[in-house]
Symmetry: C2
Subunit: 317 residues, 2 copies
């Protein structure tokens, strides 16, 4: 039987493959935030990764694994977020075209980011149906390989490499927390962490306003997001078949958090740690704030998933 | 003759002394900013230092060097900025009192920062005369030792340790640039750099709207600031006798920059590097932006001096 999701060995191979392209991001600590919550935090700063997000790991792994013939025709995806930018840069590093399908109403800052990495953008109506149809047309025309943002074996392998680095630096953690949207990061993190040391707990962190992963996890079937509405714009998507299985098998629990706590956690990180995280990246700290007693006195690794925010639209008042 | 300013050996002794207390801050790179300016940058991130600024190095060195009798009476300074917070935390780490004289109109965020480190604040009128008079009174009452924010031998020794670390990590630089206000950071940086490798150029970076260091450097006498008005609120102060001499002897040149370029450089750092720097810390990058040809193809170390900004009052529109 072929494994539906990658093993630790596959993730380690991915790590060797992508090392020449990625930053080994620092793990930062903050005695102020530790004291505030009675927790020993280890923050893996994927906001300082290239393109400002962990997504560059998975995209690079997927692009590097293409055969030369596949690669020559390029890659494509539909996304207006970090995966689009990550795939564009990963393609450029292999000197192959990237075709990005984006809703025409995507923020101009995101369009500009993707363009700056040299990708070709095809705009579509802002519906899932239009996205998929446009993507089909692009694939038919170009023969490009579709790289799904998260429900993709090679992408998940790449995302798991952040946890591998975190545990190389700090093996003695009690728990690791990652945000969960489509589940690529949480899947890779959970597989890697549990395979390295089964005693380390792995938790997913999700906004209450987009809690499809929580509900899917609890009920044992994929329940898609319905009208998710959260400031954590990287966590709007629903689990895929592969990520659902990986999370079900390897994650200990999923916690949910209120919007106010996400903004509070984000502000705490900005003010105390002097680094820029996007709202999605602040969700794991938010769940610790909302569950202080549960996490008290633990050594906790948190993956700061990304740092892409529009400085003209900050949620601070 | 006693040296008026510290030697490299003194700075190295300071480094050993403060190592248990400080963060060894990372040196970050940005291929995007490199490509934009055709420069190879090495950013020493003192914004990620404790209290969010290099000031903690000098304050810690000065506090640790006090005799037990001096220490028991505490330390004092007048400042509403990073030095006040740094001295407060440095005092707390030695378990001694810190008395901070602050203008009553100081931003509440700065008052809160100093209070959170356990210092006792004495408020005064917002004039230099009132500050100095109030400081005298505090000293008479408490016997506390005055630790000047920059015109202090031990403070300058501490500030020089950031450049020592930078050059340990990256010895092959062509130039190092630091912002200059009172000159503590630039003095320590220049002494350390020139003593380690005399071929490395050292430049000061100053806002045009507060260019007393530039004018003092060019004319060979201390010319105090007159009504400085710049967004770089850490650079409002004028050189002192010690910092003037250290800069005169060890700095190759001082460049000035417009306010717009400071904001542009600050935004570039936030958006591209995902770290928070205060306006003063962006001044060195601003002078490179304004002098592209001069700095082209060079390996340049930049000290990001601090990251303390009020998130409710950002200059981005």
């Amino acid at each position: 039987m072929t494994a539906i999701y990658p093993s630790l060995n596959i993730i380690k191979e991915a790590h060797e493959r992508i090392k020449p392209f990625i930053h080994r991001t620092p793990v930062l600590k903050s005695s102020l935030i530790n004291d505030l919550l009675n927790v020993e935090f280890y923050f893996k700063c994927e906001n300082l990764q290239k393109v400002g997000a962990f997504k560059y790991r998975g995209a690079t792994n997927a692009v590097q694994l293409l055969s030369d013939i596949e690669a020559s025709k390029g890659v494509t995806t539909h996304s207006s977020g970090n995966h689009a930018a990550a795939l564009s840069l990963a393609a450029r590093k292999r000197d192959i075209p990237a075709y990005i399908v984006m809703p025409e109403n995507a923020p101009s800052i995101k369009k500009a980011a993707v363009q700056s990495y040299g990708a070709q953008i095809t705009y579509c109506e802002p519906t899932l149906e239009a996205r998929e149809k446009t993507l089909d047309l692009v694939q038919q025309k170009t023969g490009a390989t579709f790289i799904h943002p998260y429900n993709n074996f090679n992408v998940i392998s790449g995302q798991g490499t952040a946890a591998v680095e975190l545990l190389e630096d700090y093996p003695q953690l009690d728990a690791v927390i990652a945000p969960v949207g489509g589940g690529g990061l949480l899947s890779g993190t959970a597989i890697a962490t549990k395979s390295i040391n089964h005693n380390i707990k792995v938790y997913g962190a999700e906004p209450l306003n987009a809690d499809d992963a929580y509900r899917s996890f609890k009920q044992g079937i994929i329940i898609p997001s319905e009208n998710p509405n959260t400031i954590a714009d990287g966590l709007l998507t629903s689990l895929g078949t592969i990520t659902f299985q990986a999370i079900r098998d390897n994650v200990d629990d999923i916690f949910r958090t209120k919007e106010e706590t996400i903004i509070l956690a984000m502000r705490l990180i900005w003010e105390r740690m002097k680094i820029i995280v996007e709202p999605s990246a602040a969700v794991p700290l938010a769940i610790v704030i909302e569950n202080k007693d549960f996490f008290k006195n633990k050594k906790i690794g948190i993956i700061f998933s990304g740092g892409n925010v529009d400085l003209n639209q900050l949620p601070f008042h």
